[in-house]
Symmetry: C2
Subunit: 735 residues, 2 copies
């Protein structure tokens, strides 16, 4: 035991840099020694080194160019200053690993050029940002520049002469750190940002802290950790760890921005672990950073982040995730599932201590398959602002995921999407969230920014799989209103073998209307795949029009009711709140049956949504594209159930996944829905009893207590179809 | 040398079955002996055997069901009789490989049951087919049944007693062979089909020939080979080999149906090779079957068959292709690229002599990468009915393919698509052919048949990337007219390093209008990727409206001219000939420049089509979906240039592939077209001189002689931009 402790202590000592030792940010001296010794033995790491050296060699072939700042994002000077920091990092690492002086010289020369330029700079000439930078049009880019350049300087610190160091620190690093922290005469916005609880502040504090570490300036490091007043009461990295994640490691803007935010968090944490080991940063707040990484990985399907709020299609292969996964594994090498992510989705590792360890342990065969679990991820600093529930198939081979989002707004990237759901199955998005309307980096598409349609469509409620009241978005589409509230998770139970269930409530989004949604993922002995039951209840004392849009991916196969298709002319579904972007493709009513069924095909599987309707229900099919003058919107499709003049109303649906469609062997089976009927045999403010009937005389009954989530409360409901009794907020039975 | 010959002779002897020996169709005695000996040594073949035995075991667990025929395709009795032949084949092979009697017994019992049933059957009760079967609603299925069942019978022939054999041959096989060949009292259509030059006849002759071989009935085999009159002058398999493929192994219906047709050809040829080795069937007509397989493999992109005429998305993994590739390799084991197809795309092999050989040689590491080449595939029995040109990138890493289709109509599955082109690049379809409008096997979609929209849209000219005159389809959309003619390839040259070119002419499709199209795939030193130049010339003495639709996959990025987008209402582009299915999304004119540029993104690459226009040219964007009451059409998009009141007119376009779009590392480059201008500096019935200018002052000039393809003819053209002289039908220069 003593011996084990001794070994542990020794290992820790090896992992943390001696004070003033270089390198000590992403690389350590002992790490470098090991990498050099193991060159040629760990193929994935060798590839990473080769790539770095290739980048460094490319740098050496170029002229040194440190242009006077002129262009905004995408322009020449902007891109050159970005490229320069990548080049410096590559050269710095190449110097450490090869000992070839030309690499170190290039970093020193570039830094010298920057030390010439920087003192001459005022604010950047492009004045679009509230917080303009000096090298870049916004300070954020300058922080990112310094995060990288600090790593490069760390690598060549010992190579440079004291006078060289003195000059770059005096003319470049100290003024830049001061600028990031305090701004400059004429604009002090940077000081606010530096101390804010926001991911831009994470970049700024990381930059200042990292350059402080390299320069051995403890005061700067303290500012980074505890805010510019060094008290920790207003700002700083540590406080960001307290504020920017929920206790479950959920970042309020959602997975897509969590991916971006995690980057500086993990990088700076790695540097802190090396330089201030006494802080035990990875253990801070019950290992909040590890939780953040793990939550982020869980909020993905097939390696792509689940799309909600402003989100494009990104996944585990994003470079931020390589940083996050490598550093997280280095901090806790017992989490072998991280190796699976690195090996299967990323394919490259960081040229750093962390990357080396990941590559080595993958080569040792230590990776374990990433496992997905059903979980509730609470939102809010205290975990009290609702949350996102993710239900996963118990059998990983089924590969399905169902999400219910009942969070707070999610800052400026949030959508008006209270209680929206999404469904992923068989490798595909089946019920989708549109995500963001943006063509990142494509100049011709509104310069790569979020397009106007992001606000006019993607953020609006109708773009989501949830309730729209009176054709208006939640909170009237007013951000400030939405920011004041959050939905609530009423209960979630992922423990039963035959069913997983979650229920959430939203009372503020639609004035005078309370919404409650319960979704159950049910495994029956009689259906081919698990079944989803969706009970979306609206309560109001006044009459409203309720729309229940379900955005599907795939192609319509059939509808069990007559409909009129727009044949020679097509018009918009509405004029505002996102409806103006929808072409009304078809509409119909089901006068024959109280169950309206919509079947579509996606990939090699069929999906059937059977919803309880009346002859008065309007059933609408619509697609995006109207009022989209610049062709900014993607082609997205929705099936919508519309009820008019209702006070209380419950949308009840059965969603079946069924069948196989194999074009190659020309075989297909189980092409039609098994569902024979869905109906509510009781639906009051106290109780909802939902019955779904399937082929073969099978029946699934979901009993819900709407007014209380008390797990001990006993309930009894008389209905025309018999008496139902149960305990707790829900009960499921089937035969 | 003598020894080598001896070995060869011995090998040949081993490969061909002794007369009357069983099995001798897909399996041989010596083959079975080798497979048994090598069990456990060739993993891919073991997997195939395991699968077969699993199928046989499943059969043994079932009751014997040989129902009285009642249902059409997809119905119970139809599917049961299909399943029965698969079961019999599995059991027959399982018997051969394991020697376990229960497998053989099951085949014998099933055959006995069929021998009971068959004599009682008249025509099938479903009377939708002109050539109804007895077990199935159409004779085609009965032929397929017998092809399979003959294989099964071959396997258990020696196991069954002479009296058992006598009974099934008398009651089942001989009457069925007679029925397939001669029909039955009341309907003699089968006799016509049997002797037709059509792929249904290939199934029928294969079935009759194979059962004849098993029964040792040379007369039946002769009928199969030489037609029911055994003269070879009207029908039979040998004549099909003469008629159904062009000398280049091209099947006139196109790749998708060639895939289907190749199946019985290869299966029966394998049986002939085993039973009538003296015919040397695989060498017949200069190895026409090998050519057919090779051509089929070449008419694919990323393992999917190029979509033209009636085509769904099928590829190398279709089971027909497993037969074709395995048997072709067995016939010519020097073609090691076939092993690559089997290993990379198919993943399973036949449980037969051929499959064994493929699996064994893959395991020995003999596979060689499939190489794609630029080629012209002539259509027509004599190779004189036009053809399809496929231009491939010289560097396989570029992975692009450009096709020009100038064939005959392609029988009942042909489209009115003279001189259409398609472009595949970077793993994607970029300029697309819609293929067929069909949801195969999906009952809810017009019972899985070709939908009405196949005729009203998919077959029409506007659904293709070619010239539409006066909004009418080629040949007025009249099949019988189109069948009388074919386009002509004028010349094709794939030999130059900087350019590959093909030119074709069509003079019958549009009355009074001659069309000529020349496409060049040009590699420049100044563009990122090869360039495509498209010169589509129409000549007429009367005025016409000319439409030039280009169907693209991907999302519109930008247009270099102002346009009006349909914002709140959208109408159809026309009322007939496919136009009624198009929604008019947007239209504009380019009054600023004579070059109209359309840029779109597909995958991580950009494409820019720059076309020569005038201020009078109408530029239209349209999508499918109008007049499609049942949502049968897929979502397809076109950019169309429209010229009114023109006699002679030439559409000249530069299509650039450019840029990278990497969302994961958020890098993109080369997002905009390099093309600065395209124009015709000369355009007469004799000559077209097309100039395209690119960024950096680069210029590509394509000189075409329109009136003669004589390679020795010398040409001289004076233009406002100078004098051009060249020899032969074309000349390309660039700077």
């Amino acid at each position: 035991m003593k011996r084990l402790l001794l070994t542990l202590t020794l290992s820790l000592a090896l992992l943390t840099a001696a004070a003033g030792e270089h390198p000590s940010l992403m690389l350590t001296r002992s790490g470098v020694a090991q990498m050099r010794a193991d060159r040629g033995k760990v193929p994935a790491f060798d590839a990473s080194i080769d790539r770095t050296i290739a980048g460094a060699d490319a740098a050496l072939r170029e002229r040194i160019e440190v242009p006077v700042p002129r262009d905004g994002g995408g322009g020449y000077t902007h891109e050159r200053h970005k490229l320069n920091y990548y080049r410096m990092v590559d050269c710095g690492i190449a110097w450490q690993l090869t000992g070839e002086e030309r690499y170190a010289r290039r970093v020193a020369d570039l830094l010298a050029a920057y030390a010439e330029l920087y003192p001459t700079l005022g604010f950047h000439p492009v004045t679009l940002s509230k917080s303009p930078g000096r090298l870049f049009w916004q300070t954020l880019n300058e922080s990112v520049w310094l995060v990288h350049t600090a790593m490069a300087y760390d690598c060549v610190y010992d190579y440079m002469t004291p006078s060289e160091r003195e000059r770059v620190e005096r003319n470049l690093f100290r003024p830049m750190a001061d600028f990031l922290m305090n701004g400059m005469e004429g604009n002090r916005e940077n000081n606010k940002i530096f101390n804010k609880m926001h991911n831009h502040a994470t970049w700024a504090t990381s930059a200042v802290g990292m350059i402080g570490m390299v320069m051995g300036d403890d005061a700067l490091v303290d500012c980074a950790l505890y805010g510019s007043d060094r008290t920790g009461r207003k700002g700083g990295f540590i406080r960001q760890l307290d504020y920017l994640f929920s206790p479950d490691g959920y970042f309020t803007e959602g997975a897509y921005y969590q991916r971006y935010a995690i980057w500086p968090f993990m990088v700076f944490a790695q540097c802190i672990a090396h330089n201030r080991p006494q802080l035990d940063i990875f253990a801070y707040r019950d290992h909040i950073l590890q939780k953040a990484v793990s939550t982020l990985l869980q909020l993905a399907y097939e390696g792509r982040f689940m799309r909600f709020n402003d989100a494009l299609e990104k996944g585990y292969d994003a470079q931020e995730l390589v940083y996050a996964v490598n550093i997280a594994y280095n901090a806790d090498p017992t989490d072998k599932m991280l190796l699976d992510v690195a090996a299967r989705y990323q394919g490259w590792v960081l040229p750093s201590d962390a990357g080396y360890r990941v590559a080595r342990d993958i080569a040792r065969g230590e990776a374990q398959p990433l496992r997905f679990v059903s979980r509730l991820y609470r939102d809010g600093r205290e975990g009290d602002a609702g949350g996102v529930a993710v239900i996963r198939s118990t059998d990983p081979a089924l590969n399905s995921a169902l999400t219910l989002k009942a969070t707070s707004h999610g800052l400026s990237h949030g959508h008006f999407d209270k209680l929206t759901l999404a469904y992923y199955d068989n490798g595909n998005e089946v019920l989708c969230d549109y995500g963001a309307a943006r063509w990142l980096n494509i100049e011709a598409k509104y310069k790569g920014h979020y397009t106007h349609e992001n606000k006019s469509f993607a953020m609006q409620t109708v773009a989501h799989n949830t309730l729209v009241v009176d054709e208006a978005s939640h909170f009237g589409g007013v951000y400030a209103e939405s920011m004041k509230h959050h939905s609530d998770i009423l209960y979630a139970d992922f423990s039963r073998k035959d069913m997983q269930i979650v229920s959430a409530r939203e009372t503020n989004a639609c004035e005078g209307v309370a919404m409650q949604r319960t979704v159950a993922y049910v495994t029956t002995p009689f259906l081919q795949y698990p079944l989803i039951l969706d009970v979306l209840r609206a309560e109001s004392d006044a009459e409203h029009r309720y729309d229940y849009p379900m955005w599907y991916d795939g192609h319509l196969v059939s509808l069990n009711f007559p409909y009129e298709r727009a044949l020679t002319a097509m018009t918009t579904l509405g004029s505002a709140n996102g409806y103006q972007h929808l072409w009304r493709q078809a509409a119909g009513r089901n006068t024959e049956s109280g169950t309206s069924c919509f079947t579509w095909i996606k990939g090699d599987r069929f999906y059937s949504l059977s919803t309880a309707t009346t002859p008065a229900s309007e059933l609408v099919l619509a697609v995006t594209g109207a009022n989209d003058p610049d062709f900014n919107l993607r082609h997205a499709r929705t099936f919508m159930v519309r009820e008019r003049g209702r006070r209380d109303h419950t949308f009840f649906s059965s969603l079946e996944s069924h069948g196989t469609y194999d074009l190659q062997v020309e075989q297909s089976d189980n092409l039609t829905a098994s569902c024979r009927a869905v109906r509510l045999v009781c639906d009051t403010r106290d109780y909802t009893v939902a019955v779904a009937e399937y082929a073969g005389g099978h029946r699934v009954v979901l009993c819900l207590a709407n007014a209380t989530a008390d797990p001990a409360a006993r309930h009894r409901v008389e209905t025309p179809e018999g008496t139902f009794t149960w305990t707790g907020p829900y009960d499921l039975s089937m035969n």
